[in-house]
């Protein structure tokens, strides 16, 4: 602990390795801002920054759900496919493609979100009830949801969507994309749950020491199931947002959306084995990924080289994750 009457030198001597680990993500992000601010012309413009947020929002919403799982020592490998399936389901229900007559958009949205939560609940139940690693149950769910998505629209895209469906992912309020507003609201809501509810405390406790939590009367099964349900719910929300982002629903819109959310949570400084992390870290992790690709694009760096850069940064983050803890 830092005493009041220490000299500056003593304070620096007191910075332990865990505080380096704690501040590395934000320092990294600021460093990138400085770098791209200097080396590109348009990076720091308001419109480009809104663009960065817009590009990161869907991965961000997935990463929020993923954070609950990872903080609790679990993982959800099914988020991209749940997102895709729920997007297709909402679109198919609201356009009458799945059954006639079509459902009002709001009803279709609610059904879609509940289906996401339900699918997460299935993986979560099997994980917690039979103590199967979530790695396996959500991998199975990945295949299931992928199949459900293809069945829902017969492997076809749904092209013309009602306005209500594209509102959340495609419209703007006072030139701020609704997508970004939803993302930021979810970050705040997520951290409120983690910091100020019993459930949130138990997520960290189960992630840190499952056996101790059980001995203290925490219902470990309920918590493990809960985080995977929440992850399914956020994946479903991402599915809704996706409809507006791309203006349609396609059977391949989930491709590439599994690993970035996991990477973002780790970049944000969460403990890979559970028990540590917070949503602001996840936000920073999401921004690191988005800023990196946006900045490198503006610098004219090729997509191939961008992948290499992302790989290096993630590798550094993983090393920091285990070293400074």
């Amino acid at each position: 602990m830092i005493e009041g009457n220490q000299s500056i030198g003593e304070r620096f001597a007191n910075i332990d390795s865990s505080s380096i680990g704690r501040h590395a993500p934000i320092v990294g992000l600021i460093g990138m801002y400085a770098l791209f601010g200097i080396y590109t012309e348009n990076f720091l413009t308001v419109s480009n920054q809104i663009n960065v947020l817009n590009q990161s929002a869907i991965i961000g919403v997935l990463a929020i759900g993923m954070s609950f799982a990872i903080f609790c020592g679990e993982i959800d490998l099914s988020v991209a496919e749940i997102m895709q399936f729920v997007g297709l389901l909402i679109a198919a229900l609201a356009t009458g493609m799945l059954m006639w007559p079509q459902l009002p958009p709001l009803v279709a949205i609610i059904i879609g979100l509940l289906v996401g939560v339900g699918l997460g609940g299935v993986s979560g139940y099997i994980t917690s009830r039979f103590d199967v690693p979530s790695f396996m149950t959500t991998l199975a769910m990945l295949f299931l949801a992928s199949g459900f998505g293809l069945i829902t629209t017969n492997s076809r895209p749904v092209l013309s969507l009602p306005g209500e469906l594209v509102f959340f992912g495609g419209e703007s309020i006072l030139s701020v994309p609704v997508l970004v507003i939803v993302f930021i609201a979810c970050i705040v809501l997520g951290q409120l749950i983690l910091s100020y509810t019993r459930f949130g405390q138990h997520v960290y406790a189960v992630g840190g020491n499952r056996e101790a939590a059980a001995r203290m009367g925490v219902n470990v099964m309920r918590i493990r199931m809960g985080v995977i349900m929440i992850s399914g719910g956020f994946a479903a929300l991402a599915g809704l947002l996706m409809l507006g982002r791309i203006g349609s629903a396609t059977p391949t819109m989930g491709v590439g959306y599994l690993l970035p959310p996991i990477a973002a949570v780790v970049l944000g400084g969460a403990d890979l084995f559970g028990g540590e992390g917070h949503m602001y870290g996840t936000l920073i992790g999401v921004l690191i990924l988005a800023v990196l690709s946006n900045g490198l694009n503006l610098m004219g760096v090729s997509t191939e080289a961008q992948l290499v850069a992302q790989g290096i940064i993630l590798m550094l983050a993983v090393i920091a994750n285990v070293m400074f803890r």
């Binding site: 602990m1 910091s195 100020y196 509810t197 019993r198 405390q201 138990h202 960290y204 406790a205 992630g207 840190g208 020491n209 056996e211 101790a212 939590a213 059980a214 001995r215 203290m216 009367g217 925490v218 403990d271 028990g275 540590e276």
Partner: protein, 252 residues
Amino acid sequence: MPDREVLITAEDITVTYGEVTALDGVDFRLNSQEIVGLVGDNGAGKSTLIKCLSGVTQPDSGEIRIKGEAANLSNPRDAKDKGIETAFQDLALADNMTVTQNIFLGREEVQHVGGILPFLDKGKMKQRTEELLDRVNIDISPDEKVKNLSGGERQLVAISRTLLSDPDIVILDEPTSALSVEGAEQVIDLIEGLREQGISIILISHNFEIVKRVVDRMQILYQGTNAGVLPSDAERDEIVSRMVAGQPQQTA
């Protein structure tokens, strides 16, 4: 001495872990306002017995009665609801969380924001934690993460956690094994203080010298079986013989 109510009786408790029989027909009794020592060599089954009494482990057979009523302790909550609190041998602390969070783990205080939403009452929990830390006499911050504490401090956090709910019965499994001589003395003073407040205590240790000083009587376990109940002033050799051979000293 006032009449002592029987708080806990355990009869014919058997616990097996696969091939291992950890307890084989053990009986146990705790009266009100009493400190009972549970001693025995490593692996004698002490922790297993108290895990049964705190709802962590369910015996294969046998009966536990609490205050005269048959008790089915199917999880730790059941035991806590019946006024039994335990500081476990491995402490069962979440290292990633703060002292306050650990003390309130599983029974966090909430306040209802806007009359409905249950939000954690962090101020109240911190204040209660300060009181508890004061009571066990350690000077650490309630906001310190448990992973930054010394072995002795962690032990005292685990003990102070048992006092949160004003329990009737406190079980302490090896509370002095991680402590210095001075720290152990502090725990003994604490145990005596708790007795004066009317709390009954089960004290587990394989250091019977410490046990002898505070308990009213001690029960000895030997390889999962009863090896007798002795008064606290029993001869040292008598205790050792029962601990290592499971039977009274052979007199030549």
